[in-house]
């Protein structure tokens, strides 16, 4: 989980950080934030799915839950 957080951080900084929108005047920051938000949500969903798969992979056979 710790490794996933650090890798996720790397993706956020390198992918989300540079995103900037221009040409919409005062709405630039808002549109940029919305795009960042959507990508962040996708990343969080991916993170949960990976973690969930990992959990199942690690525990399923041993625990028989």
């Amino acid at each position: 989980m710790w490794v996933l957080i650090i890798i996720g951080g790397g993706i956020v900084v390198t992918l989300l950080g540079p995103i900037s929108i221009s040409g919409y005047g005062e709405f630039n920051w808002f549109i940029g934030s919305v795009i960042k938000g959507i990508i962040a949500i996708i990343l969080v969903v991916m993170w949960i799915l990976i973690l969930s798969k990992l959990k199942n992979w690690i525990f399923k056979k041993e625990l028989k839950f």
Binding site: M1, W2, I5, I6, G9, G10, V12, V13, T14, L16, G17, W29, F30, S33, V34, K36, G37, A40, I48, L51, S52, K55, F59, E62, L63, K64, F65
Partner: protein
């Protein structure tokens, strides 16, 4: 430096002794008024006073007001207001059983003072890779963070002494990380949480004389979350909290909905004849951290508690390593 040391010492002493001296009379008052619950993990029919959140919030508010007298920081006001709101939400849940969505929604509202007081920085700091600016997204993060930390601590409050003992480790780790990052004022502001937890642990440790209840657990969790936000150490705080986060994650991913523990019918653990705890094979029961720990075989309540504390110490070490990695960039 002396102007920081004196407030730190005064607030820590106050935080510790307010809880230390107010909890015994609180136990008597609660017992006298029949505010007790059965300790499910004891062989005998033992009734324990609840909620201990009253002495916890008292210790936090007194020490933070004193710190506000020294520093006049909006961050301290945000801590006081949001933490008090979390206590009230928890207290309502202690007195009246509310639905599964009550706490997340109201804790989200309790986070609003952080935004209104401007006690946050929209930069999210990651180890190795640096900061990312997320102005609008960060507001959402604040709204989500307090319910997550509050409910995370609440969900780990299942055995004698675990919630308060876990908070001692996690909150002192967070304070150490803030000192490493040279964020001295917020580090000092965070110290009372550790001392309040430590004083409460004296009465909460096995065999418990008092339970924190939702009011105590949400107070712990919400204050931890606010410190993470106002100190700009969200990622570090999440790492220090990993065992509790894993517990919540396992619970939610197995139950697949936001629901109160008491609404779950399947039992994740059961008692052996000698009253140790053991994991069940009930497929309808949620997967929890305690259930995972017990897959190695039955353990006493005390042994499980210490296993969780070892995990908390391990996560604390990871949090400190992460803090050191903050100064390194690829």
């Amino acid at each position: 430096m002396i102007e920081l040391v004196i407030p730190a010492i005064i607030s820590c002493i106050l935080a510790f002794f307010v809880v230390y001296f107010t909890t015994p009379p609180l136990i008597k008052i609660l017992e006298k008024n029949n505010f007790t619950v059965k300790d499910m993990n004891k062989k005998e029919n033992v009734m324990i006073a609840r909620p201990g959140g009253i002495s916890i919030i008292l210790g936090i508010v007194v020490s933070e007001i004193v710190l506000y007298g020294f520093f006049q920081l909006n961050e301290i006001l945000a801590i006081i207001i949001t933490t008090t709101a979390a206590f009230v939400i928890g207290y309502v849940d202690d007195r009246k059983v509310m639905g599964g969505w009550f706490k997340p929604v109201t804790l989200g509202i309790a986070a609003l003072p952080i935004i209104f007081l401007g006690a946050y920085d929209t930069n999210l700091a990651f180890p190795l890779f640096g900061d990312v600016q997320i102005p609008l997204l960060y507001l959402g993060l604040i709204i989500f963070m307090i319910p997550i930390t509050g409910n995370t601590i609440n969900s780990i409050d299942v055995l004698n002494g675990v919630a308060s003992g876990f908070m001692v480790i996690a909150s002192f780790t967070l304070s150490i990380c803030l000192f490493i990052l040279q964020n001295y004022e917020i580090a000092i502001v965070s110290l009372p949480l550790g001392f309040v937890s430590l004083a409460f642990y004296k009465y909460h440790k096995i065999p418990s004389k008092i339970f924190p209840g939702d009011s105590g657990a949400l107070t712990f969790g919400a204050m931890y979350g606010v410190i993470a936000i106002v100190g700009g150490v969200e990622i570090i705080a999440a790492i220090a909290l990993l065992p509790a986060v894993i517990n919540s994650f396992l619970f939610l991913s197995s139950v697949k909905r936001v629901v109160e523990h008491r609404q779950i019918k399947g039992k994740p653990v059961e008692h052996t004849d000698d009253f140790k705890l053991k994991a069940t094979n009930d497929k309808t029961a949620p997967v929890t951290l305690v259930r995972l720990i017990l897959t190695g075989g039955p353990l006493t309540e005390k042994q499980i508690g210490f296993t969780i504390f070892k995990l908390a110490i391990f996560s604390g070490i990871l949090a400190i390593i992460t803090t050191i990695m903050m100064g390194v960039s690829l």
